[in-house]
């Protein structure tokens, strides 16, 4: 893996982006990586656009600022596309992962993504409603991210879900989350 991978998350408050940014970081830590995860704090209002960040590296991470040139951008809500410049500063050859019912080709057009970017789509909300019974798309989208980018192995993510969710949630909830990861891994498409 490359030395430092920087991931920016776009979501609306309440969709679990902060949890997702930390879930990914924790999983990478268990893989022996150095990590950083932080939300951009502001007035917290459910539904308001927010950003969160994750850094993963083989070496100690010294940077303590917002991520302005991400390798990966994850968007948990496609209604943000008309109002937020989600691709701002993304590195050449970077990856965009979008929670949407659109096809990967339609998403590429909606994002106005340059040809060098990889665009991946997954209906994480649909999967979440079917498995977790609530539109909390964070767990499935981290599954899609693991599958597409390999920042963490999918199995490591599932192991960590069992470990960290095991402290707070019932077996039923954990199983639903694991099922959401499996479905996202299966259904994520790249254009």
């Amino acid at each position: 893996m490359q030395e430092l991978v920087e991931i920016r998350w776009h979501a609306r408050a309440g969709q679990g982006a902060v949890t997702a940014s930390k879930l990914l970081a924790e999983t990478a830590l268990l893989q022996g990586q150095y990590i950083q995860a932080m939300p951009e704090y502001g007035p917290e209002r459910t539904g308001a656009p927010l950003k969160a960040y994750t850094r993963v590296s083989n070496e100690r991470i010294e940077l303590h600022n917002n991520i302005v040139h991400p390798d990966i951008v994850v968007i948990l809500d496609d209604t943000l596309l008309p109002i937020i410049d989600v691709l701002e500063g993304i590195k050449e050859g970077g990856t965009v992962i979008l929670n949407t019912a659109l096809s990967a080709e339609e998403a590429r057009a909606a994002l106005k993504a340059p040809a060098d970017l990889r665009v991946a789509t997954v209906d994480a909300s649909g999967i979440a409603v079917a498995t977790i019974k609530r539109d909390i798309p964070n767990t499935p989208i981290v599954g899609a991210l693991a599958e597409i980018t390999g920042v963490v192995p999918v199995q490591a993510l599932k192991d960590n879900l069992i470990k960290s969710f095991g402290k707070k949630f019932s077996q039923e909830v954990i199983d639903a989350n694991l099922a959401s990861v499996d479905r996202a891994v299966e259904e994520v498409k790249v254009a």
Binding site: Q36, A37, Y41, L63, H64, N65
Partner: protein, 395 residues
């Protein structure tokens, strides 16, 4: 043999753990963003029986530190945590704690001061406590916030020091970002911090004493203050001793300053806190281009390590001092004044610029560090004058 737990934690998680492991008898605190999760985490430790502390929920920060003063005078090991307006509200008691030579350990989540209201990270709050006689640490990372908090207890409680300690970390940037953290086992930390042995406790001693007496004309007040000055001036060897002892336990280096590539550097940026990693990142980029850049971070801010700072900076062609607060109406910001005063004792004069940056949590981009280094090159060549400027504002 010590055991280490590696986990993903925030700076506030790490401060709460450090406090738990030092096991104060009394914690009196009031919540304020972004300190809240320290006390919240600590309250959970108490509720879960993981630490035996009298946790006092008070109605304000003024009361929090007042309760700490009473408990510390009684002979207890005492800790608290605050931030911003909370630290400002403690101003009376800050001086009472140091004047009464009470070894209270207080964590501060560094945050802007109103107005305008802002919950984010800068050093304006701590600088209000700068002259209050507390020993002051600035952490760069969550890990260092843990280390600084642990070493604060034996330093504060050493009879040769007997002063309160403020152990600070930058609001949100360090308090709330999740990082890779190493936690030592409880027994190792317990053995390191030892127990407080109070010299003249109000209770638990066998002779009756009074604390905080009236000291008016006749010179007593004056002499007590002279003793306070002598105590903080004499504290560096004690700070170094406990820092070195902790370095042996945890394997992480301890020094008053953290010097990066300053030995042969032409251009050095000096700062406190979490921004130093960004400066080092840019310094490495510049060194790859043949520009000799260095970074000096001050970890122990009070007592100010003037000799070490001067020694680290003496070979530079130009120095930029970054202040995450301002001292309005003064010639420079707080760190700017400290560093320039330290440089006065050099035989040669090195030009400096003072930059106020990152106020109210304004993001410290790598571009701002590049800009500062570029200005130092102009300063050294004489095309830019000395002075103070704000770095990273829109206008």
């Amino acid at each position: 043999m010590s055991a280490i737990t590696v986990f993903a934690g925030t700076g506030n998680n790490m401060v709460a753990e450090a406090l738990r492991q030092a096991a104060p008898d009394v914690v009196a605190a009031y919540p304020i963003t972004p300190q809240t999760t320290i006390v919240e985490g600590y309250a959970k430790f108490v509720a879960d029986g993981r630490v035996h502390t009298e946790l006092v929920n008070v109605e304000s920060e003024h009361s929090a530190l007042s309760a700490c003063v009473g408990a510390s005078a009684a002979g207890a090991r005492v800790a608290t945590a605050t931030s911003s307006q909370g630290l400002a509200l403690m101003w009376e008691e800050l001086h009472i704690a140091s004047g009464m030579r009470l070894p209270i350990v207080m964590a501060n989540a560094n945050r802007a001061i109103s107005a305008p209201i802002n919950i984010h990270g800068d050093h304006s709050d701590v600088m209000g406590a700068r002259d209050s006689g507390w020993i002051i640490f600035f952490a760069e990372t969550a890990q260092e916030a843990y280390d600084n908090t642990i070493i604060s207890f034996p330093i504060a409680e050493d009879p040769a020091v007997s002063l309160p300690v403020l152990t600070t970390l930058d609001g949100f940037i360090t308090t709330h970002a999740m990082e890779r953290c190493e936690l030592l086992d409880d027994a190792t930390v317990k053995a390191y911090v030892g127990d407080r042995v109070p010299e003249n406790p109000l209770i638990a001693g066998d002779k009756p004493v009074s604390h905080g007496m009236f000291a008016s004309l006749g010179g007593t007040y004056f002499e007590v203050k002279k003793a306070e000055r002598a105590a903080i001036d004499a504290s560096p060897p004690v700070i170094q001793k406990y820092g070195d002892a902790w370095e042996k336990v945890c394997g992480r280096p301890f020094d008053f300053i953290d010097s990066f590539a300053c030995e042969d550097a032409d251009f050095i940026l000096v700062m406190l806190g979490s921004a130093a990693g960004n400066a080092r990142t840019v310094a490495r980029e510049l060194r790859a281009q043949g520009i000799k850049a260095g970074v000096l971070r001050v970890r122990v801010y009070r007592p100010f390590p003037a000799d070490a700072v001067r020694a680290a900076l003496k070979g530079a062609k130009a120095i930029g001092i970054l202040d995450r607060s301002d001292s309005f109406g003064a010639q420079y910001g707080p760190l700017g004044l400290d560093v320039r005063a330290a440089l006065y004792d050099l035989p040669q004069r090195i030009p400096t610029r003072n930059y106020v940056f990152g106020l109210g949590g304004a993001d410290v981009t790598l571009e701002t560090m590049h800009k500062a280094y570029a200005e130092l090159a102009e300063l050294a060549s004489g095309t830019l004058d000395e002075g103070l400027s704000y770095l990273g504002t829109r206008g």
